[in-house]
């Protein structure tokens, strides 16, 4: 069984704008929120991962809009 055949992952991939980067951001969202909840603000890893998540989202929206948009 491939990961994409799992019910939740299959549902995520089938819905939305059909973009693997956004799919990965959506699927990793709970993990990142769980990480910052567990590690707290003082831990540089949690702050780094949260910042990277936001930067990836904003950067990719702008990239798609200005570089590879429809």
């Amino acid at each position: 069984m491939r990961p994409r055949d799992l019910p939740v992952i299959h549902g995520v991939i089938e819905a939305g704008p059909n973009d693997r980067v956004f799919d990965v951001l959506l699927l990793s969202g709970p993990l990142v929120v769980g990480l910052v909840a567990l590690l707290g603000r003082e831990n540089v890893v949690s702050a780094g991962v949260a910042s990277a998540y936001l930067a990836a989202f904003c950067g990719y929206v702008l990239y798609k809009g200005f570089v590879s948009g429809e």
């Binding site: 939305g16 973009d19 951001l25 959506l26 936001l54 809009g65």
Partner: protein, 519 residues
């Protein structure tokens, strides 16, 4: 009528089962926060709608698909039922603490939780949550059990997108019935040809944006539990808070300004979000509603900042900008987060209820208009304001043309014929008229029951517009001690505001007609 009862009963049963699922899922929060005493209450709260829902769906399983009339009745009845059954966690947890059974290590009773022993207060909180209003019966949200903090947040998050949208996404029932229900819940926009695909994509976008909002607020300095709750209620433009003074509790400039785009995201239509995620950023200015919304944000905030600064309400230009912009965006997006609560932490902070009448009425204007149709907001919606303004100009300008002239009106890139203009203008005018009429009715009731001299007229107009616009900003009128009649009136205003009035009137006509009270 038996066929109608079967169709309505079957679909109400499905909605109740979906609601029960939300309650059972929330038990995880009770366990995570080690509030084991809350688990029996949450399970019991879920079993009631689950049982009733199963009976209804089994009994009426073979019912016909809903038509337009049934769709409206199901939407209105479904939202009322969700409000009623959604109040059970408040009731059961308050009474669990009150009765304090020996085997459950319950916490001390607080006045805030004690207010929910009253079923009307519990119903008010639940309805306020699911309709995305955010007016509250709590005195101090911080002392609520985490389970109830979560349930308030969760109800707004679900209600922001829609109870029927949730049910359709979960049950994946294709066909015209789902489309009818979808449209009855004050939605008409489709992202994909299939309604099931459309609602799943709406949830996809909503969940992704929720994670983004939570992490942005956390990075801005909000504690993680606050970021989770406020990210969810901010994006769903609900406005429930887990702190006593809403966002003002944090007294943080960075949190205030990070919250602005979160609320704005919630007020933009989902199809526009979808296109932007596909790479079409032009929709920020080519989509009429989004363009008007952004213009209204700038003009309304500018006006409010000017009023606050030049009337001397707030002495510092930056503080006027900070509080004026936040409160106007909060009003126009129908969120209801409040930073203007008085000098609790910041001496420059002036409570909304003490703002000059022109400032309060500017905020009221934002609450009445609301954001874009097809988003999570209340109010009459930007598209109706645009239709009314453009339609009025079209009608007036028509006098200067000969009768034989063929004229078209362009709204949102659609070139409308005279017949289409008449239909759309009529629809916008009827909704707006009903909106204002019920606003006036609610105001009349409120003024009749409020203690004389305690609140000004602009306070009362503000509060009732906040309830009916599903906003949640308050001048201090709403609370557990407000008169019972006012609570009932606000319940009605929140209900009709969420469904854009007509489905509720259709349901009431059906009920009264069946009971022989209306012919």
């Amino acid at each position: 009528m038996n066929g109608a009862r079967a169709t309505i009963g079957r679909d109400l049963g499905r909605i109740l089962q979906a609601l029960a699922g939300l309650m059972f899922a929330s038990v995880a929060v009770s366990l995570a926060w080690r509030e084991f005493w809350a688990v029996p209450g949450m399970v019991l709260s879920g079993l009631v709608p689950l049982g009733i829902g199963r009976v209804l769906t089994r009994r009426y399983g073979g019912a016909d698909e809903p038509g337009k009339l049934h769709g409206m009745m199901i939407a209105a009845g479904g939202w009322a039922a969700v409000g009623v059954f959604g109040s059970l966690p408040f009731l059961t947890l308050a009474w669990t603490v009150e009765l304090s059974p020996a085997m459950l290590a319950t916490p001390e009773m607080t006045p805030t939780l004690a207010a929910f022993r009253d079923p009307l207060n519990a119903l008010f909180e639940s309805t306020s949550g699911f309709t995305g209003t955010g007016l509250t019966m709590t005195d101090d949200e911080e002392v609520l059990p985490r389970t109830l903090q979560w349930w308030r947040t969760f109800s707004e998050w679900i209600g922001g997108v829609g109870v029927i949208v949730l049910t359709t996404a979960v049950l994946a029932r294709p066909g015209s019935g789902s489309l009818t229900l979808y449209e009855s819940e004050a939605r008409s926009e489709k992202i994909h040809p299939s309604i099931v695909s459309t609602v799943r994509t709406i949830w996809w976008i909503f969940v992704l944006f929720t994670f983004v909002a939570i992490l942005a607020l956390w990075l801005a300095g909000m504690p993680v539990w606050g970021a989770i709750n406020h990210g969810m209620t901010g994006l769903s433009t609900g406005g429930f808070s887990i702190t006593d003074n809403s966002i003002a509790t944090y007294d943080s400039v960075s949190i205030d300004f990070v919250m602005l785009p979160v609320m704005v995201l919630g007020s933009i239509a989902f199809p526009v979000h979808f296109l932007i995620l596909r790479g079409d950023l032009r929709n920020f200015y080519t989509d009429l509603q989004t363009r008007w919304l952004l213009v209204l944000f700038v003009l309304g905030s500018g006006l409010l900042v000017g009023v606050l600064y030049f009337t001397g309400t707030i002495d510092s230009a930056f503080a006027a900008f900070r509080y004026g912009t936040f409160q106007f965006v909060s009003a126009l997006t129908c969120t209801g987060f409040q930073t203007a609560v008085g000098p609790v932490k910041n001496p420059e902070n002036v409570a909304l209820g003490n703002w000059p009448a022109m400032g309060q009425l500017t905020v009221t204007f934002g609450m009445v208009v609301g954001g874009a149709a097809g988003s999570t907001v209340g109010g009459i919606k930007v598209i109706r304001l645009a239709t009314l303004l453009k339609g009025t100009r079209h009608r007036v300008a028509g006098v200067f043309y000969p009768d034989t002239a063929v004229r078209r009106l362009t709204i949102d890139d659609r070139r409308l014929s005279d017949e289409e203009v008449r239909r759309e203008f009529e629809e916008a005018a009827i909704i707006t008229f009903l909106w204002v009429a019920f606003l006036g009715l609610g105001l009349f009731v409120l003024l009749a029951v409020l203690p004389p001299g305690e609140y000004t007229l602009e306070n009362a107009v503000f509060e009732i517009a906040s309830a009916q616009g599903n906003v949640g900003l308050s001048t201090g009128i709403t609370g557990p001690s407000m008169p019972t009649v006012a609570k009932v009136a606000f319940l009605f205003n929140m209900w009709i505001g969420r469904l854009e009035i007509i489905p509720v009137l259709v349901l009431l006509r059906g009920v009264f007609s069946r009971g022989g009270l209306y012919r």
